[in-house]
Structure formats: C-alpha cells, structure tokens
C-alpha cells in the first residue's frame, strides 16, 4: 500500500509528526511497537526544566516555616503569590526569555534547529489537541513545581488540569493518600518529605493483596468505587485543603474523577506522578490515537519494521513483520521517530551504538569507557545521552561530511543527537517541537 508519508514510531514525536502532516491533508501511515516513553515517563510536558535559576520557576509553594530539610525551603516566597492560574500563551514570558537565551549557547541542540517561533507553534498545536475539560496549561509564565512520588518537587511546564492543585500545596496543608497493596506509591514517604500528612487506605479485602496502577486507575473510573474512597478520605481529613493521590485518576475522564472526588471530599485534588507506567501519558496517547484515526490516519500499533528497501539515496518501502506474514508499505516520505534505547531507536553492543532500521550513523563517544561518568549523580550529564542522529537544518540525517544520507527520510524526537533530555528536563518539548518540525520539513518536499 502506498502513502504520502509513513511515520515510524508512536511516541510523542511520531504522533506529533502524524498530526502535523495530517492537518496538511496527507495520507498517512503510523507504525509503532508501543507508546514510546508516553506510557512510561511522560506525565506532564517538560520544555526546559533547567533554564537558569534567575529565569526559572516562580515559587508557587508557600512555606510556613524555614525548616532547612523541607523541600520548600530552597524557594523564597514571592511577594505576590500568583493569585489566579491562567492559561498563558504557548510560552510564558519567563520560559520565552529563558529558552531563547539558553538556545544561543547551544546551536546544535534540536531546539536551536527548530527555532523559537516553531517551538511555540508546535506547543500551540499540542495544546489545541486537549480542549477543556482535560486541558494542559502553564501555571504562571515559567516552569511550575509539582510534587512527585518521592516527595521531591519537580520543575515542569505544561501540566494537565489534574495536577494543578499540587503546584500550590503548602506545608501541613496537604493530605497524601495511598492504597494498601499498591506497591508503587507510599503516602507516608511522600508526606514525610513534603511535611504533610499521609494516609494509606485499605481497599476492600480482594484488593489488599496486590493491585496494579492500571487496575487502580480503571477502578477510579467506577463511580461507586470513587464514592467509597471519597467518603473515607473525607472522614479522615483534618482540615487540609488539598489532597494528593498517585496519578491514577482514571485513564478516561480523569477530570470527572477529580471533580467528583473534590465534591465529596470538599478539598482540591491533585495527581502525583509515580513510577511507570504513566497513566497521564496513556491519556495523551489515547487522545492522539482517537484524533488521528478520526482524521483517517492508518494506525498500526504493535508492529515493527523488519526490513527497509533502499535505492540510492531514497527509501522505497518498509516491511512490517506481522507473523507469519510481512507486509510491504511504501510512501513518498518517511519520518523516523523511534526514540532512544528504551524505545529501541538506538541499540548498543559492547563496542558501539547503532540505529537498527536504516543504519544511520550515530554520533557517539569514542569508546564505551566514556559512555558513562564514574558517578551516577555527576553534575555533568553522561556522554551517552548526547549520542544520536546528526541532521541538517531540515532534520534529515547527515554523515560526517555533512551530506544528506537519505533524501526522503526525516528524523524526529529523542533519537536526535546533542541534547540531554533527562537532565535538561526537555523530553516532551523536544519530541513535540521536532515531531512538528520534521513533518513541516517533509511536507515542503514534493514527492
């Protein structure tokens, strides 16, 4: 079957590329092994968590004392505590200024290749996919801090409505709620770190042995269930105005789960990101999937490319292996958005790192000895994270001489070189911006 564009990879960058191209009326096939890092790490949209301290987040959290051990302690209380949460433009002024200054010193970074204006367009496009009630928003005009499953605070940029109340959590004014038998969240652990109170609920006997994140979030979608736990939380509330729960408030209609619980309990509810899998990430995936299918995009989830057909500097087709048969799909243009090691976009053997689908060259450190630093928490990022595919300004892979390797293959997402998304806290931002940009560039080139 022939398409205008085949997107390989179903993480955020691939989905964003498919969305962008689909809006231009292209006939698209998207192929993916899985949901990429969406189902694992993406709870919110990071753009750049590490912009210089001066430019960084407004401290949205108030501290009631100056306990040096408190995670709030490091952040001064601002004079005018932001009074209302507003959806500002795609980049608030702090983020806009911080990012543009940051990019100046990093010409090779994927953000610099995309450029500030296109980053804004890409983020707007993303935001537009999530109309209320389950919308994404900024809090203030820079990064905000959200509490995590370790009781730490984490800077991030766009957050879903279910996490907003967490950004204004105050010491001793929060109740953190966990569930007995759910091993990936410990209310007391989080509460101890945040100087709040913890509460571990026992679910009905059946569940006390063990329950998973997906099962719990499905249960949350069940009205009688959330009524029961809502009433129990209300009973045990000691006047706290905010209640934090692990980010499991339903795969679907989580805004409604939040609203219902708030009505029963009489306090603001917020979700706290936890160990994978990421239920908020699945919501993002499901929304893209629903939208893309509605737009007529062909969606092949759970499939992988077994072979490519290359002719000169062009890709002529890809084999999708679906035992016992292989299908051949062809397109005028291709976008490679297969992620890094976790996603399978990059593979390492004992000696070197390679890209398994097109065998595109990977910029990487000289030897394995240099991949990782001797300390895990070294101030500098591990060099291996910078490895990836080098592209020209139009996001096509290039070799050492700067020549384009495949004229009709564009590259997007975390597989690109010259970023450290985990340390920068820029993962989703890079995925959204480069997915958008690779599609735009691909569209420029006629068949």
């Amino acid at each position: 079957m022939h398409f205008d564009l085949i997107v390989i990879g179903m993480g955020l960058s691939g989905l964003m590329a498919a969305k962008t191209a689909s809006e231009a009326g292209q006939k698209i096939l998207i192929i993916g092994k899985g949901m990429g890092s969406l189902s694992l790490f993406s709870n919110t949209i990071d753009v750049l968590g590490t912009i210089s301290k001066a430019m960084n987040m407004e401290p949205h959290v108030q501290t009631t004392d100056t306990n040096p051990k408190s995670p709030w302690g490091e952040h001064p209380v601002p004079e005018d505590q932001f009074a209302h949460r507003q959806v500002s433009g795609p980049l608030g002024t702090r983020m806009n200024d911080g990012l543009s200054q940051w990019m100046k010193n990093r010409p090779k970074h994927p953000y610099s290749k995309v450029g500030l204006d296109r980053i804004k367009e890409a983020l707007s496009s993303y935001i537009s996919l999530f109309p209320p009630p389950y919308s994404f928003q900024t809090v203030g005009n820079g990064n905000c801090l959200i509490p995590t499953g370790l009781g730490t605070l984490r800077p991030t940029y766009l957050i879903p409505i279910t996490m907003v109340a967490g950004t204004s959590l105050k010491e001793r004014d929060g109740l953190i709620v966990g569930f007995k038998g759910f091993k990936d969240f410990y209310a007391d652990y989080v509460a101890d770190q945040l100087n709040c109170r913890g509460l571990t609920l026992s679910l009905s006997e059946t569940f006390n042995k063990e329950i998973t994140a997906t099962a719990l979030s499905r249960l949350m979608e069940n009205e009688p269930f959330r009524e029961t736990i809502g009433r129990e939380i209300k009973e045990k509330l000691h006047g706290e105005t905010r209640v934090g729960l692990p980010a499991l408030l339903g795969v679907r209609e989580s805004w409604k789960v939040k609203k219902d619980l708030e009505e029963i309990i009489g306090a603001e509810i917020f979700e706290i990101p936890i160990l994978p899998p990421s239920i908020p990430g699945m919501r993002i995936f499901n929304r893209f999937k629903e939208w893309l299918i509605q737009k007529g995009v062909t969606f092949l989830l759970g499939h992988f490319i077994s072979k490519t057909i290359l002719k000169g500097k062009r890709c002529e087709g890809v084999h999708v292996h679906n035992p016992p048969v292989s299908y051949l799909y062809s397109a005028d243009r291709y976008i490679l958005a297969t992620g890094r090691f976790v996603g399978g976009g990059l593979v390492a053997n004992e000696k070197k790192i390679f890209e398994p689908i097109f065998n595109l060259p990977i910029t990487q450190p000289e030897s394995r000895e240099d991949w990782f630093r001797k300390s895990f928490f070294d101030d500098l990022s591990h060099s291996v994270h910078q490895a990836g595919i080098l592209t020209d300004s139009s996001f096509r892979a290039i070799n050492e001489k700067g020549e384009v390797i495949l004229e009709n293959v564009w590259v997007a997402g975390s597989i690109l070189s010259n970023h450290h998304s985990v340390d920068e806290k820029s993962r989703e931002g890079i995925e959204i911006a480069t997915g958008y940009m690779a599609a735009k560039e691909a569209l420029k080139h006629g068949a």
């Binding site: 890092s37 694992l40 790490f41 709870n43 968590g49 051990k69 995590t148 499953g149 370790l150 009781g151 730490t152 605070l153 984490r154 800077p155 038998g181 759910f182 091993k183 990936d184 969240f185 410990y186 007391d188 652990y189 101890d192 770190q193 913890g198 571990t200 042995k209 063990e210 990101p273 936890i274 160990l275 994978p276 990421s278 890094r340 090691f341 976790v342 593979v347 390492a348 053997n349 004992e350 030897s367 394995r368 000895e369 991949w371 990782f372 001797k374 300390s375 895990f376 928490f377 591990h382 291996v384 985990v422 340390d423 806290k425 993962r427």
Partner: protein
C-alpha cells in the same frame, strides 16, 4: 562506657566470625567488632567457589591440600550453604596436554580426586561448553553462599555466648610495654566512643590487616590483589567450569543459584576501599570466559563487582599470581613483643575454618588452656533447612493467594512479608544491612524498583532513619559501581529507564 572481654576479635569476615564460633565452642568468651556489616570485605566479594583445591594443585600444593580438606569438612557441617555441583577443568584447543598431565599428577599428590572425561562426556554434562574443547577433568568443586555461611557461624557463636558489635570501628590502641591494654572504638551510627579491655586481641581484618597494625606501629608483608567478577542474568552451567591451565584472568565460571559468576582478574592494588571495575576489565573477562562457554557473548549481564584479596608475602616473589594463597598466622608476642596480640590474614574463603582453628589454638596456648577444636565436627545450626535450589524455589513460588503481601521485588519475587520480617528482627542499622539479608536488589534491575518500595515500607512501618531520599541517592550511587562497566544491550536500555525515573520523573 568500658567493656571487659577475654578475647576481642576485629573483623566480621569469615575468619573473624569463624574464630568467634571456634572460641565459643571451646567455652572462651569473645566480642567481635566489625566496621560495617558481616562480610563487608573479601568474604562478601568473591566467587562463592567451594574450591576443591584443583586450581592451586600445580602452583601452590600447600594451599590445594588445605582446600580439599576444608572442602570435605564444609560439605559436612554446612551442607545447607553449599551446592555440590562438582567442577570441570577443561582443555581448549591450544591448551597443552602436558599441563593437564601435570595437573592430574598434582591432584593425586594433594589428594584431590579426579575423573578424566572425553570431549563428548564433558558436553553431555555441560551442553553450553565450547564444542571444540579437547577434554575435561572432573573434580569435587562446589558453589557456596558465603553470606549465609558467615551468618550461620555467627548464629551458632551467639548461641554459645559470643557477642557481635557491628558498624563499629577501632580508632586507637592503648599499649604498655608488652601488651595491648585497651582498644578505643567508635559506633559509626551514633558516634558513641568507648573502650574495650581485652585479655587477647585478634586482628582478623583481612585486607585491612596493615591498616589495623599501623595503630600498633607494626607492618607485615601483604600484597593486595583486586579480583573482578561479573554476574550473568541466568545460570549457564551446572558445574564449576575452570580452564585447565595455570591460574590466569577469566578462567572460572561458577554457577550460583539462578546465575553464573564469571571471574576473575588479579590486579595488584593499593586501594582497599575506593576501587572500581572498568569497562575494559569486563570486556577482558567476557573475552576469556566466552572461550569456555560461548553463550556468554549473548548473555545479559547484571552486575560487575570486585574484591580485594589479602595475599601474604613471606619473601619477594615475582607476580601476585605466584604469591601463596595460603594463610598466615602471626604471633605478635614472638614477632614484636606484644604478648596478647595475634594477626591472621591471607588464605581463601574455603579455608576460613582452618584459619579460625589455628588462631584459636594459639589463643588457647597463650591462655594456657588445653581444649581442642570442634568446629569440624559440629554442624552449623540451620543444616536441616532446605538447601537444594529446587526445594527453595518451591518455597518461594507459592501462589499469591498464600499471602505474604505484594511482591516488592519482581526480579527475585520477594514479598512484603519477608521484608517486614527481616526489618522487625531488628539490629539493622542501614539499608545495606537489610539488602544483605534478603534477595532484594539482587535481580536484573539491581534494585531500580524495589529500593523505592523498600524505603516506602520503612516509612509505612515508621522505621526510617534520616532522609530517605538521601539514602536512595546513596544506594543508586553504590549500585552504579556495579552496573556502569556492563552497560550495553538490554542493560543499557534498563539503565536509561532507571535514570529517566529517578532523575526524570522524581527529579532526584
């Protein structure tokens, strides 16, 4: 605080704990102090190989004789800590049969039973062996659980009146002309300092022997040798596989429960504590051991680690492989005029009991007491517990409905109840103490997930000490030492995953 004791043993490795048990069975009271947890040094950082002695038969017959004799004793007294696997010494193309003949003669002379196997016989026993092998010699090697063995010794010693003080270090010694009178110690958890007055002092600090002796202004000829090992994600061999040649790098593969351990290197080291395993050492071990079992090239590795062997140098010899692996017992009364002071060091894990016996004999001689050793006759307490892997797996594999709470460690199937049991037993002072006593963090993810859950359970039980996130960081940094050198393939994938969790989601 001042404590009086007959014998003070410094060092909670196999030797120190062995001495403690030996003395307790002779009715002599003792206190053992250890800076960390039991098996903090080489006792916890070795192959877990129950040597038949074959490895040293040619190069060091005395050590070989000690090995085979202790091997037989341990099978009797500690069968629950041992898997009787047998071992093969295999000859590969290029390995000389002259050496094999020499090996067979040396085994005969040192009393190590051997069976000569053809290529086909060896392959039938161990299908993963290199099919090009020329032949093999079977010897009574085995696999053991060093930590369990040491804990069992401690348990028995405690039952007979011995005392143990962990996480406590010696800070200085008080001496008069011919005796050590007082030992100043410091509790490393609460910082408390106090004095212990022993009648006799035993230095069983292994690789730290000279560091300890420095407190008395003494020094002995001790070479430190770093040995590096790698743990595979699955068990590749049923028997210990040795290369039939003079001991060299990467010529042993020891099966251990569900994994295999590849080893080892021998590199002269000056560092006892801050040593690292490099990616290059790992590559060397894989290159060498995969000549014996080619599947190693394709096998996932879960961790690399290293230990420091203390090797006694009686006189200057060439390389460190040639220094005897035998042990040495020093009577500082004779040597240095400190009548109540003894040092025991060198040796192999397998000979810990013999080392303890000889040390205790010397103590008794100094005390003028005539009692004899019985550690070779009396089995260790837990001997009736299931020891075979199959039986233990049966116990572990009980269905979830049998209770025990949620599974905290998905790699090793550790249930909450088991962890809570270890926690409430008490005496545990830090995270590593807990990890030592369960299989948590020993599996494929090396604690990436279960460490968080363990800290969570500690909070649930209100048993945390200090800042959990700081402990978590400390754990991840320690974990890093073991996995950094093996990061490629699926291990690298998992590493990216773990880093994305802790540095990403959790902003640690």
């Amino acid at each position: 605080m001042k404590i009086q004791t007959e014998v003070l043993i410094v060092g909670g490795g196999a030797t120190g704990v062995g001495i403690s048990r030996d003395l307790s069975l002779r009715g002599i009271p003792s206190i053992l102090i250890e800076r960390g947890d039991f098996t903090f040094g080489a006792s916890g950082r070795n192959h877990g190989l129950l040597h038949s002695g074959g490895r040293y038969a040619v190069s060091d017959p005395e050590a070989a004789r000690e090995c085979i004799s202790e091997n037989r004793i341990l099978r009797r007294i500690a069968s629950h800590c041992i898997e009787e696997t047998e071992g093969l010494f295999i000859s590969l193309p290029g390995d000389s049969f002259d050496f094999r003949d020499q090996f067979l003669r040396a085994c005969e002379e040192t009393g190590i039973p051997t069976t000569l196997l053809s290529r086909e016989e060896a392959l039938t026993l161990e299908p993963e062996l290199n099919p090009d092998l020329l032949g093999a010699v079977k010897v009574p090697d085995g696999a053991m659980n060093p930590f369990a063995l040491v804990l069992e010794n401690a348990r028995d010693a405690e039952k007979h009146g011995a005392k143990f003080i962990l996480h406590t270090e010696v800070t200085s010694l008080q001496m008069n002309r011919d005796k050590i009178k007082g030992v100043c110690v410091k509790d490393l958890i609460n910082g408390e300092e106090y004095l212990i007055n022993p009648s006799y002092l035993i230095n069983a600090t292994g690789a730290w022997a000279n560091q300890f002796l420095k407190l008395a202004g003494l020094h002995i000829g001790l070479a430190l040798s770093k040995g590096t090992m790698i743990i595979t994600n699955q068990r590749l061999n049923q028997r210990v596989i040795n290369r039939c040649r003079l001991p060299s790098d990467g010529d042993i593969i020891v099966p251990n429960d569900t994994v295999s351990i590849l080893g080892t290197t021998s590199i002269r080291s000056e560092e006892i504590e801050n040593f690292e395993v490099t990616p290059a050492e790992v590559s060397l071990l894989i290159q060498e051991t995969s000549k014996m079992i080619p599947a190693i090239q394709e096998t996932r590795l879960i961790r690399a680690y290293a230990g420091i062997r203390p090797l006694f140098q009686s006189e200057e010899k060439g390389g460190h492989r040639e220094i005897s692996r035998g042990f040495t017992l020093i009577d500082h009364g004779k040597r240095d005029g400190l009548k109540n002071f003894i040092t025991i060091t060198g040796g192999k894990f397998v000979t810990y009991r013999l080392m303890a016996e000889k040390t205790s004999d010397l103590v008794c001689q100094k005390m003028g007491i005539d009692t004899s050793c019985s550690t070779h006759l009396k089995p260790l307490p837990g001997i009736s517990e299931p020891s075979k892997l199959k039986d233990r797996l049966k116990k572990i594999g009980q269905p979830a409905t049998a209770g025990g709470g949620e599974i905290l460690c998905d790699c090793e199937w550790i249930r909450r109840e088991e962890v809570e049991g270890v926690l409430t037993e008490g005496k545990l002072k830090d995270l590593q103490d807990i990890l030592h006593r369960t299989r948590l963090a020993k599996g494929t993810c090396q604690g990436g997930f279960c460490i968080y859950r363990l800290l969570g359970v500690l909070h649930d039980l209100r048993m945390t000490r200090g800042d959990s996130n700081k402990m978590l960081k400390g754990f991840l940094e320690e974990r890093w030492k073991g996995i950094r050198p093996i990061l490629w393939g699926p291990s690298l994938k998992e590493e990216e995953f773990i880093e994305s969790i802790y540095k990403g989601i959790f902003n640690l």
